[in-house]
C-alpha cells in the first residue's frame, strides 16, 4: 500500500465499491464454520467487520461521517488478525492492496488528522521521540557475530525490544545444541511492522530503508526470524518501500528446529513429562506467512508431548487480541484473549504453546498468576526438552 494513500484514493474507493457484504471477512473454515474475526465475534453486525470498515470509509469520503474520536476508537479496536485478507473480491483489483489495508489506510488518515485513542497517541509519541533520538545517534553495527563465518543470521531485535529476552536465550541455547553457527542481525530500531499497521506511515519508509541498507549486504545468508510480525513485514512488504529490495532467504526458527529434528541434529529428552499441549497459530506466522506445520512438527517430536488442536486452528485460528488498542468495544484485547483461553481450556490440554511473544503476554495477562505458566513460548518449551 502506498504510504501516501488515503481513504479517498481511487484504489481504495474502487475496492470499497466491490464489497458485496458477503461476510467472508468474518468467518472461516469449510465444511467447518467458525466466526474468526475478533471484532465480529464481539459486535456480530456488519459494522463490526472489514465490510463495515469498507462502508465506513465510503461514508467518510462522502462526508456522511467525520473522522472523529469514535471512528478512531473503532479503527484501533480491530486486532489486525488478517482474516479479512481471505476476501477474494477485495483482493483482486490490485495485488499490492490487501483487504486489511482498508483499516490501515483509515488509521493513517486518523494519524494525519491527529485523532487517536489515548493508548495509540502515547505509542505515537514514543515513536516520534525514538526517531528524533536516533537521528542524532550513530547507527548500530549491522551484525553482532557469534561466528563471523555463519551463513545464518538471526533477526531477533524486535523480539528483544518487546521485552522477551527469554526467547533469544532459548534460541541461542537451541542453536548451540544443534551445533549451528549463527550471527545476530541488529535491526535499526524496529522492523517497521507496527508503524505500518498502526498508520504511523511517515516513519515507515526511513525505517525500512535503514534496515534494508544493512540487510542487503548479507543477502547470501539465510535470515532466521523469531518474531512473526517482523518476518511477515520484511518478507511481504519491504519490496513496497525499499526500491532496491530483492527477495531474501527467510525462515522462521520453528522451521529450522523442524529440520533439525528431522535430521536428528536435535533429539528430545526421553524422560519428558507427559503433557497435552495446544498450539496457538500466531496470525502473522500462520495467515501471514503460511507457517502452520513446522511448529506442530517440532512439538510432536518431543517425547511425552501430545498435541491437541483447538477448534479454530491454522487458517481459521482465532487472534490473541494483543493489538487491539481502541475502546470501541471495551477491553477488546483482554476479552479476545479470554475467548481464546476458553477454547484452550475446552481441549483439556495442560499447556498452550505459541510462537509469538505478543500472543504469549496477552494470554498470560488474562490468567490468574498461578495459571500463567500454562502459556509458554515454543522455543523455551523446546529448549527445556532437548
Amino acid at each position: 500500500m502506498r504510504l501516501t494513500a488515503s481513504i479517498d484514493d481511487r484504489d481504495v474507493k474502487n475496492m470499497g465499491a466491490c464489497c458485496t457484504r458477503c461476510a467472508c471477512c468474518t468467518y472461516s473454515g469449510w465444511p467447518e464454520f467458525n466466526i474468526t474475526c475478533p471484532l465480529y465475534a464481539r459486535g456480530k453486525s456488519l459494522g463490526a467487520s472489514l465490510g463495515g470498515v469498507v462502508f465506513l470509509n465510503r461514508a467518510i469520503n462522502e462526508k456522511k461521517i467525520e473522522l472523529n474520536q469514535n471512528v478512531a476508537e473503532f479503527a484501533y479496536t480491530c486486532t489486525g488478525c488478517g482474516l479479512c485478507d481471505r476476501c477474494y473480491i477485495l483482493s483482486i483489483l490490485d495485488p499490492a492492496v490487501k483487504p486489511s489495508d482498508h483499516i490501515r489506510t483509515l488509521r493513517a488518515d486518523l494519524v494525519r488528522k491527529g485523532v487517536l485513542p489515548e493508548k495509540v497517541k502515547q505509542l505515537y509519541e514514543r515513536v516520534k521521540q525514538a526517531s528524533d533520538e536516533k537521528a542524532t545517534k550513530a547507527p548500530d553495527s549491522a551484525v553482532q557475530t557469534t561466528g563471523i563465518e555463519a551463513d545464518t543470521v538471526i533477526v531477533a531485535e524486535c523480539c528483544e525490544k518487546n521485552g522477551q529476552g527469554q526467547v533469544s536465550g532459548s534460541v541461542a541455547s537451541l542453536l548451540g545444541k544443534i551445533g549451528k553457527n549463527a550471527a545476530v542481525f541488529a535491526e535499526e530500531g524496529f522492523c517497521g511492522s507496527t508503524l505500518y499497521d498502526f498508520g504511523f506511515w511517515d516513519y515507515v519508509e526511513p525505517q525500512v530503508k535503514k534496515n534494508w541498507g544493512k540487510m542487503k549486504g548479507l543477502k547470501d545468508k539465510t535470515f532466521v526470524f523469531t518474531d512473526p510480525h517482523c518476518q511477515e513485514f520484511i518478507v511481504n512488504r519491504y519490496r513496497e518501500f525499499a526500491p532496491d529490495y530483492s527477495e531474501v532467504k527467510a525462515r522462521h526458527f520453528s522451521q529450522i528446529l523442524a529440520e533439525a529434528f528431522g535430521a536428528k541434529a536435535l533429539e528430545s529428552k526421553k524422560n519428558g513429562k507427559k503433557l497435552k499441549v495446544c498450539y496457538h497459530d500466531p496470525c502473522y506466522l500462520g495467515r501471514g506467512l503460511g507457517v502452520y506445520d513446522a511448529p506442530r512438527e517440532v512439538l510432536t517430536a518431543l517425547d511425552g508431548v501430545e498435541l491437541v488442536e483447538m477448534e479454530r486452528n491454522r487458517k481459521s485460528s482465532f487472534c490473541c487480541g494483543a493489538r487491539a488498542l481502541g475502546d470501541y468495544y471495551p477491553d477488546m484485547a483482554a476479552e479476545t484473549a479470554k475467548e481464546r483461553m476458553e477454547e484452550f481450556r475446552a481441549t483439556g490440554a495442560d499447556v498452550l504453546i505459541t510462537a509469538c511473544t505478543s500472543c504469549k503476554h496477552n494470554f498470560q495477562n488474562v490468567l490468574p498468576e498461578a495459571e500463567r505458566g500454562r502459556v509458554q513460548d515454543l522455543f523455551a518449551f523446546v529448549d527445556e526438552r532437548v
Binding site: R10, K13, N14, A17, C18, C19, T20, R21, C22, A23, C24, T26, Y27, G29, W30, P31, E32, F33, G43, K44, S45, L46, G47, A48, G51, G52, V53, F55, L56, R58, A59, E62, K64, I65, N70, V71, F74, Y88, I89, S91, I92, L93, D94, P95, Y328
Partner: protein, 502 residues
C-alpha cells in the same frame, strides 16, 4: 405512514427505549459507526441511514420489533445477511434496519424426506458444510458462500446451479406486522413435518417468494436437499451456434443425462484461463475485444459444461450418450484430456464446484473487475433470437468483451440468460451508460422477445400487470396496512396507503 415521512426525534427516542426493553441492548444499535456502515445497500441505491439497526436472535424478538415498528408506523427493512448487489432491500432512512444474520441456526436436517429447516441468517457455507457431513447437498447459487439460502432463494425459484428443480423452498414461518406468526406448507399441520409445500389450501409459501420483505418477515424455512451421488464428472461440448447449444441442453436434460449444465459464450469460458489459482487480477487481452460473434480459431462459439453424477457405471454410460447427443445437434464433445488442455483453470474450478457443492464466485466473473449484469428468463425458442439481439445491442455501444452464460431451469422449460458488461467501479460514466443501455434492453426484451425480467426493479413492470398488481395491493393492504415493510423499494405506491394514514 408514507415512506417519505421521517419519525420525529422524540418518537425515535421512544422507539429506541421500547426496542431496548424488548431486546438486549447489545442487539439494538444506534451508534454512528454501525448506522453509517448499514447506510449503503451494496447496490446502486443512494445512501440512506437508518435510525436503528436491530439484530434479533429469535422469532419472538422479530415479532416484538415488528409490533413496536407497526405501532409507531416506522419503516423496517430486513436483510438476511446483507449480501445484496441489486438494491432489493434499501435501508429505510430514519427507520429500522433488521439484520437477521444472528438467526443462523440449522434447526433440522431430515435426510429421510430430504429437507433442512434453517433460520434466515444461516449462510450457504454453513448449510453446505453441515449437509456435506451427512452426504447431502443444497441447490447452489452463483453467489458467495456468505450469502444465505433464504435471502437468495426467496428472490427466485431456484439456485442457479439447478436444471431439474424449481421451488427450493418448501415452507416458511413468517411474522406479520401485527405480530401474528404463520406457517405455510405442510408444517402448518402439527407434527406433519416440512416435506410438502402444496396442500389442500392455497400456496402461501409462494406469496412470500419474490416479495422482498414487503409482506412479512421470514424467521424459519424448510428447503429441499439432495443426496450426493457416489461419482461425478465434468465434460465439455462445443457448438458453433448458441441455438445448437440450446437444443443440445434441452435434449440432454430431458434424457436425464446431466445433473447440471451451463452454456458459456467464448469470451466468458476463455476468461477462466485468465485467472490463476490465486485469483490474481488480470486484464482482458485485446483478443477478447474482437467481434463477439467471431470466436477465435480453435474455440467453439458456445461451450456447454455438463456435470454428470450417479453411480460410476451410469455416469460413464451417460458420457457416451451425451457425445451422441452433441453430434446430433452439430456439436462435439471434448475428451477429458482436450478439455483440460483447452480450459485448465475452468476445469479445475468446475471439478471443485461440483465435488464440494459449495457456491463459489466464478473466478472470471469477479477476477476481471466489477461487472454489471443483465438477466432475463425466456422460453428456448425465444432465447435463441434474444441472444443474437442482446449481444449485438451491447456490441453496438462498443462495450466489449460481451460475456454471457445461460442455463435451463425446470428441464429446459425456461432458460436463464445472464449477460455481463465489465466496468471499473470508479468509471461512473461507463457504468451509467451501461445501466441506461440495460434498462432500454429490458424494455425491448420484454416487448419483442417475450422475456421475463429477473428482478422487480429493472423497470416499472409490476404496475402494468393489471389485475395481478391489483390483487397484490389488496394483499399488501391487508397484511401491512401501515406500509412498514421495506417501503423504500417502492414496490407499492405511497398513495395506496393514503386512506390508512387518515
Amino acid at each position: 405512514m408514507l415512506m417519505t415521512d421521517k419519525p420525529h426525534v422524540e418518537q425515535t427516542e421512544a422507539i429506541g427505549e421500547e426496542l431496548r426493553i424488548a431486546l438486549e441492548s447489545s442487539k439494538v444499535k444506534d451508534d454512528d459507526i454501525t448506522l453509517t456502515s448499514y447506510g449503503y445497500d451494496g447496490g446502486p441505491a443512494p445512501y440512506s441511514k437508518p435510525a436503528f439497526v436491530v439484530l434479533p436472535t429469535t422469532g419472538d424478538e422479530v415479532r416484538d420489533i415488528l409490533m413496536i415498528a407497526n405501532r409507531y408506523k416506522m419503516p423496517v427493512g430486513t436483510i438476511a445477511a446483507g449480501v445484496n448487489v441489486a438494491s432489493l432491500v434499501v435501508p429505510p432512512d430514519g427507520g429500522i434496519l433488521m439484520d437477521l444474520r444472528n438467526m443462523n441456526k440449522i434447526l433440522e436436517i431430515n435426510t429421510d424426506s430430504g429437507y433442512a429447516v434453517i433460520e434466515p441468517g444461516c449462510n450457504f457455507d454453513k448449510l453446505t458444510g453441515a449437509l456435506r457431513k451427512v452426504g447431502f447437498r443444497f441447490q447452489m447459487p452463483t453467489a458467495p458462500g456468505g450469502s444465505t439460502p433464504l435471502g437468495n432463494h426467496l428472490l427466485k425459484p431456484s439456485g442457479s446451479l439447478a436444471n431439474r428443480h424449481l421451488d427450493s423452498i418448501l415452507d416458511l414461518e413468517v411474522v406479520q406486522p401485527d405480530g401474528s406468526i404463520i406457517k405455510t406448507g405442510s408444517s402448518h399441520f402439527e407434527g406433519a413435518g416440512s416435506s410438502l409445500r402444496y396442500g389442500p389450501f392455497p400456496d402461501l409459501t409462494g406469496l412470500y417468494c419474490c416479495s422482498y420483505g414487503t409482506l412479512g418477515i421470514v424467521t424459519k424455512a424448510a428447503v429441499k436437499i439432495y443426496p450426493i451421488n457416489e461419482c461425478s464428472k465434468v465434460v465439455l461440448a462445443g457448438f458453433d451456434t448458441f441455438a445448437d447449444a440450446v437444443d443440445f441442453i434441452k435434449d440432454a436434460i430431458a434424457n436425464n443425462i446431466p445433473e447440471h449444465c451451463i452454456i458459456w459464450n467464448w469470451s466468458l469460458y476463455q476468461a477462466f484461463n485468465l485467472s490463476d489459482s490465486e485469483n490474481t487480477v488480470v486484464e482482458f487481452p485485446e483478443s477478447f475485444k474482437s467481434n463477439p460473434f467471431d470466436a477465435p480459431e480453435g474455440f467453439p462459439y458456445s461451450m456447454v459444461t455438463l456435470f454428470l453424477s450417479g453411480y460410476e457405471e451410469s455416469v460413464d454410460a451417460n458420457i457416451k450418450v451425451s457425445e451422441k447427443v452433441a453430434k446430433k445437434h452439430n456439436g462435439r464433445q471434448l475428451s477429458d484430456a482436450e478439455a483440460r488442455a483447452l480450459l485448465p483453470v475452468g476445469m479445475k474450478g468446475w471439478d471443485k464446484l461440483y465435488a464440494d457443492y459449495r457456491p463459489q464466485v466464478p473466478i472470471a466473473l469477479y477476477g476481471l473487475g466489477r461487472n454489471m449484469v443483465w438477466i432475463v428468463h425466456n422460453e428456448p425458442k425465444d432465447i435463441k433470437e434474444l441472444e443474437k439481439w442482446a449481444v449485438e445491442e451491447l456490441d453496438k455501444e462498443g462495450i466489449r468483451p460481451v460475456c454471457y452464460y445461460a442455463h435451463p431451469f425446470d428441464f429446459g422449460r425456461s432458460i436463464f440468460f445472464r449477460l455481463f458488461a465489465f466496468a471499473e467501479a470508479s468509471d461512473l460514466e461507463l457504468r451509467h451508460k451501461i445501466g441506461a443501455k440495460f434498462s432500454e434492453m429490458y424494455d425491448t426484451a420484454m416487448k419483442k422477445y417475450n422475456a421475463l425480467p429477473y428482478r422487480y426493479n429493472v423497470g416499472d413492470f409490476v404496475r402494468g400487470t393489471g389485475g395481478y398488481y391489483e390483487l397484490l395491493k389488496k394483499i399488501k393492504l391487508a397484511v401491512d396496512p401501515n406500509n412498514i415493510l421495506n417501503p423504500s423499494i417502492n414496490l407499492f405506491d405511497d398513495e395506496l396507503f393514503e386512506g390508512e394514514k387518515q
